[in-house]
Symmetry: C2
Subunit: 425 residues, 2 copies
């Protein structure tokens, strides 16, 4: 397996197995993560397929995907219950026989003794594997992974539990694939714009885009008022690819400089955090309608405790008054969803949590709570410091979930603008 074949374009396909994916009871986040990791390695993901726990469907999918791809990554269906049939189906498909794997069995035993749970026959069976695969031990759970080879193609079966799959991919699967194949170089450059539509952006860079060489590809990824622009390049020569990507990326950055918020593929909250960190400033949030979502976006970023102190989610008006110090006269005259209220919320949280900056939101997210004067989707956001506070009104027309998200991103962007403006002064 060490003599690596010369294979300039390696394609992969992901098969996720599980009825729960087909009735929409879970969102498939595994595939996106796997796609990112494959991509970094230089493997071009060609297709992602989700199918149910049905023998004929699994067999058919294995056949079809092997015509599309060199590497077939399979997740799911390895659990201990009756609906988990991936392992016996793979065993039969590749013409093997089930045997007990002692190392996997020892692993199952250890996990059950650690959690002090009785070891059942069905758990012991999890350590059985086909005799014609390389067993990938699972350091995070009971179901081992399996690596099959057939006619120059590689098939890898992994558990569907996200952290078990991720660990197995990074520890075992990627390193093994790197030994088995020789990959071309794939790389990306990503920038993010805020406040310009996809079409207008496309018009702005039309000539540059048309002149891009064929092995560089541009993608527009609009979301939450932002557009991410990503150049992807593929080349057998890593240095040449880097040079070319850098050159094209510099030109692109100049053309969109007016709307550019970062030339890295970062979450907006991290972009804001980096501005704050650079200036050793801190921020806190006062959230009403976003209900902690801004705090969650911020605290999902490792190291955010270096610039973020906390939030007060004032879902009830009495919290706005008693904890944030919003004037009850304001609440009674212009209401909670108003410019005055969000500005007072900013002041209140600056004071209560003692930070340099603060951001506040108040709005009607739906589906209920709208009035003729303030329909569902009416939102006020404010951001600022002790020097200046700015507020902005929005009218969103989405569902509750997206209204919350849109408000959070607009609030973070307003904060970003305020931080940059004060740095300039």
């Amino acid at each position: 397996m060490d003599d690596g074949k010369e294979t300039p374009h390696i394609h992969a396909s992901i098969i996720t197995i599980g009825d729960e994916l087909l009735i929409g009871q879970v969102v498939d986040t595994n595939s996106a993560w796997m796609a990112r990791e494959l991509n970094k390695t230089g493997i071009w993901l060609r297709r992602r397929v989700s199918i149910g726990d049905i023998k004929s469907e699994i067999q058919q999918a294995l056949g079809e995907e092997s015509r599309h791809a060199d590497i077939i990554l399979i997740t799911g269906g390895l659990g201990p219950t009756a609906d988990d049939i991936t392992k016996p189906v793979l065993c039969e498909y590749f013409g093997g026989t089930m045997v007990m794997n002692e190392e996997a069995l020892e692993n199952v035993r250890q996990i059950f003794s650690k959690f002090d749970r009785p070891l059942l026959e069905r758990n012991i069976q999890q350590a059985e594997v086909p005799d014609n695969c390389v067993v990938l031990q699972n350091k995070r759970g009971t179901a081992p992974g399996m690596w099959f080879e057939k006619e120059g193609k590689v098939y890898v079966s992994m558990p569907g539990v996200p952290h078990e799959m991720k660990g197995m991919m990074l520890d075992d699967v990627i390193p093994r694939l790197q030994k088995y194949f020789r990959f071309p170089h794939i790389d990306h450059r990503t920038l993010i714009t805020f406040g310009i539509g996809e079409s207008f952006l496309a018009e702005t860079i039309k000539e540059w885009e048309a002149a891009l060489p064929v092995h560089l590809k541009l993608a527009y990824l609009p979301n939450y008022g932002m557009v991410r622009l990503r150049i992807t390049g593929i080349d057998s020569d890593a240095d040449r690819l880097q040079r070319e990507l850098n050159e094209q990326f510099e030109t692109l950055k100049k053309q969109v400089s007016e709307w550019l918020i970062t030339d890295k593929d970062l979450p907006l909250a991290e972009v804001v955090g980096n501005h704050l960190l650079k200036n050793k400033k801190t921020v806190a949030t006062a959230e009403s309608c976003t209900g902690g979502y801004i705090a969650h976006l911020i605290t999902s970023i490792p190291g955010s405790s270096g610039w973020y102190k906390g939030t007060i989610v004032s879902y009830a008006n009495e919290i706005k008054e008693n904890v944030l110090g919003v004037n009850d006269q304001t609440l009674r005259s212009v209401g909670a969803v108003s410019e005055d209220t969000v500005k007072q919320m900013v002041k209140g949280v600056l004071d209560r949590l003692n930070t340099d900056y603060a951001v506040a939101t108040s709005g009607i997210m739906g589906p209920d709570g709208g009035t003729a004067e303030k329909p569902v989707g009416t939102v006020w956001v404010a951001a600022g410091s002790r020097n200046a506070i700015k507020a902005k009104q929005f009218f969103f027309r989405y569902d509750r979930e997206r209204n919350i998200e849109m408000t959070a991103y607009q609030a973070l962007n307003l904060l970003r603008i305020m931080v940059i403006e004060e740095q300039r002064d």
Copy 2:
């Protein structure tokens, strides 16, 4: 189209088109939503396939999926930029010619005038459609949908923007499918358990599961310490299906009653909320390590303002002291991640936000911040009322994201237990 064919098992396939799905820059949440809606209608989703913006791949996928399914739902690739090629590819595939659709053009004009943006040639082109499809007008964006029929199969192309796709599915696509086909009845019963492993659960209900009739299927969906058990039935007779599902579901509920937290498919936060609502009680949260994620889970639920007042996210210790009133002696002696601290956080937030119940979290989520004594994954949660506060320690071994999620669910479950216990008294 009104004479509905007699088709007992209608299968659907979803094709999502877009390079961004294959490099993992976005998570596909559309497919899960579509799957749920199809399922409610009695359409059995058989496969979900994601492919890139590449002509040959789209053509191949159309051919393959039409062999698997009667209905092929396509999303993505309808935008105004050069990488969006779905429309011309479909036009050619079905042998049509592009023509201007006046109603779609008027819609594009209105949207651009509303947002006061210049109308570009590429936006006008969005109103062009193949002449051999039924045009599905887009009330939420510029790209119209397209409905093709070929050899008894239906192909529907929709925009990839979630709220545009959702609106089009509910307004147009589902009603049209219901006219075109006659569906069998599909229905589900779902319950959720907490605190029992998947294997042990399977062992507990082994005999009942083995005796299930073939047209009823059981699935185990474990996540965040919970296991959802779902029975799915398919039958041409709706009444018979309901009776049978109800009967089997009652038996199942009895067998797992010890761990049962709800017999509906609800988020845990909503289960807790329903207990509070029933007793007209309120809750607030004090979050350190979960950083607003519990608040976000709660406020994502419409109507949560009826029982939820807010959160104080005390990411910095000074907030724990100054806002929540945690003793600085406690913080210095046993630290922020301790039983004393989370109990004091509960007391502080009960007092500050004036609620009947409160829940608090403090822990080390990683990747940094761990010590020999308190490694990454060490978590304390507490929940209670003015009568009693209980705290519980956990050691999670996951990544930052999952550690946050696991903590949030354990905290909500502890709160659930405390609320139920006090109701019993």
